[in-house]
Amino acid sequence: MATGVSAGLATHLGWPVGVVRAIFVVLALFSGLGILLYFWFWAFMPFEVATSESDTVTRSAPVGWGLVVLSALAAGLALYLGRNNYYYEAWPFAEVAPPLLAAIALAVAASFWVTFVDRIDPERGRRTEKLVRTAVTVVLGVLVISVLFGPFAAQRSIYAIVYALLLLLGIALVFAPVLLRLWRELGAERTRRVREEQRSEIAAHLHDSVLQTLALIQNRAGASSEVARIARAQERELRSWLFEADAPADSDLATDLRDWAAALELDYPVRVDVVVVGESGERASGEIAAAAREAMLNAARHAGGEVSVYIEGTAHAVEVFVRDRGPGFAVADVAADRLGVRESIIGRMRRAGGSATVGVGAGGTGTEVRLRFGAPLTNGAKPAASAEQTTQNGATTGG
């Protein structure tokens, strides 16, 4: 109830919690064994792997620090006993050795505990680990100094040397977990590297064989045939798996439109080329993304063939061009009850504070949709934009 031991045990054994608790209580009543057992489990029971809830458990008692305190007490006892036997023999073995060894053992235990048990505990972690290790090192260090250079150093016996050696060994053991951990991490790193190498090997092989074959299939099957589309989708998938495995899962505008293009290619006889320039912080969920998707869908549905999507993002603005080579249309000609372009592209952009224009593509073929969102154009981009105005015969709405 207090620490979740019963519950944990119950989960482990598959018994009801009540039964486990009752057993503990009965055992405790009879001999106190239950209490001991309870503490034993409490100390050593592994944490439940954190699931969706925010149950990052912390053991309520700081075992590491407890061990440090015990070690310090033992060390104090050893010092006290050593001092008191001034008249007989400095640092008598029979009396000093047990607390001294206890101090060493407890110190080493504390060090191991913080490294291997407390480390995964988010509330403690590295910082506690360092502090505890420093504390026990100080405890043992004080002992070493008092044994070798303390007030009774003049009467140094052979035991003092033995104690000092034992203590130094203890300090070495205190730091053993660090080495052990480094060793483990080294192993993990090596494994990771081997995996990475293997991966690039596979990638190279697939690149030279499968991707080439997929390209060949696309070539032989004709640009917009079913087979070519499937091959292209496959190629895209394989390529992203091979080379973009570390890409952020977070979806920005460019990634989103690329995915959308891939989806369109599967559904319509179309080939969508997405070109992205610049970095844009635009979110995939934004209005411009929705409008761009609509424009791409229109292009795929009504025009087919080759569709070019160009995204240019700067710190302040983002522009998307969707261009197809289909029969083309002017917004004015579309019946009033067809809301596709007017509402979902132009209206949407205007409401979001951007602008959208739908016009005839270059050379009088196809349609070009231009979406803009953000600050006015910089000088560098202006000439192209104004040149474009001249070819537009569709409705133009500005924000």
Binding site: A204, A215, N219, E306, Y310
Partner: protein
């Protein structure tokens, strides 16, 4: 597109690709004005064939097995220079009249920038039709550059166009002039050269000049982003 194909004189071409199916397929697809005078399947044979036949254009696969260092092929994707770039590096000095057109599985910059910087005059994806390839071959044979939307996009990125950098003189290698930026933007938007020309009220020949100028900058620029980008991907 096909009927107005230049019938002036046939262009002599060597195809370099390690897949024989692809070579024969491409050979069958190329139009009559293109004469395939040789084929090769790896770096070594490519250099030999190209120097022996001195063709007008070499259609060059970007990823080629490097006969001698086959053991190293394991890391070929990450490691470089890719086979295609090696062929250009070895053969180009011996046959100055020959132009190289890269063929790649895709037009992603990863595949292409290395060969472009090695000296290819352009590239075309392997998925392109025979007509497109033929047209590209003629363009390259005529001294023009072949750019795709994606390469144009990469150029815009690499030359800092988005952040508003403009070349002050024509000689500057690390930035694009205003006109070049406009041309690149339109190509990135999927415009053909002719459409770019009508859009900007200039002649197609002028567009080609701009594109060639950009290609030259792409090849020669020591722009930090470009080289850093390429070295990060081990393309140089």
């Amino acid at each position: 597109m096909g009927q107005q194909q230049v019938a002036e004189r046939s262009v002599r071409v060597v195809i370099v690709d390690d897949h024989s199916i692809f070579r024969s397929g491409l050979k069958a697809d190329l139009d009559a004005s293109i004469e395939v005078v040789g084929e090769a399947q790896d770096v070594e044979s490519a250099v030999r064939v190209v120097t022996a036949t001195a063709p007008d254009v070499v259609l060059l696969d970007v990823h080629l097995p490097d006969g001698a260092v086959a053991a190293d092929a394991a890391t070929a994707v990450a490691a470089a220079p890719s086979g295609g770039a090696a062929v250009i590096g070895q053969a180009a000095p011996l046959v100055p009249g020959t132009r190289f057109l890269a063929l790649s599985v895709s037009d992603s910059a990863e595949d292409v920038v290395g060969v472009i910087r090695a000296g290819a005059r352009g590239y075309i994806t392997k998925g392109s039709s025979g007509i497109d390839v033929s047209r590209a071959v003629h363009a390259v044979a005529g001294g023009d550059a072949v750019f795709s939307p994606r390469l144009a996009g990469f150029v815009l990125d690499a030359f800092g166009v988005v952040s508003g950098e403009v070349a002050s003189t024509d000689e500057e290698l690390d930035r694009l002039s205003v006109r070049e930026q406009e041309v690149m933007r339109l190509i990135a938007r999927g415009y053909a050269y002719k459409e770019v020309a009508s859009e900007l009220f200039i002649s197609p020949k002028t567009v080609e000049t701009h594109v060639s100028a950009v290609l030259r900058k792409l090849q020669l620029s020591s722009r930090h982003e470009l080289t850093a980008w390429a070295t990060a991907r081990k393309l140089l």
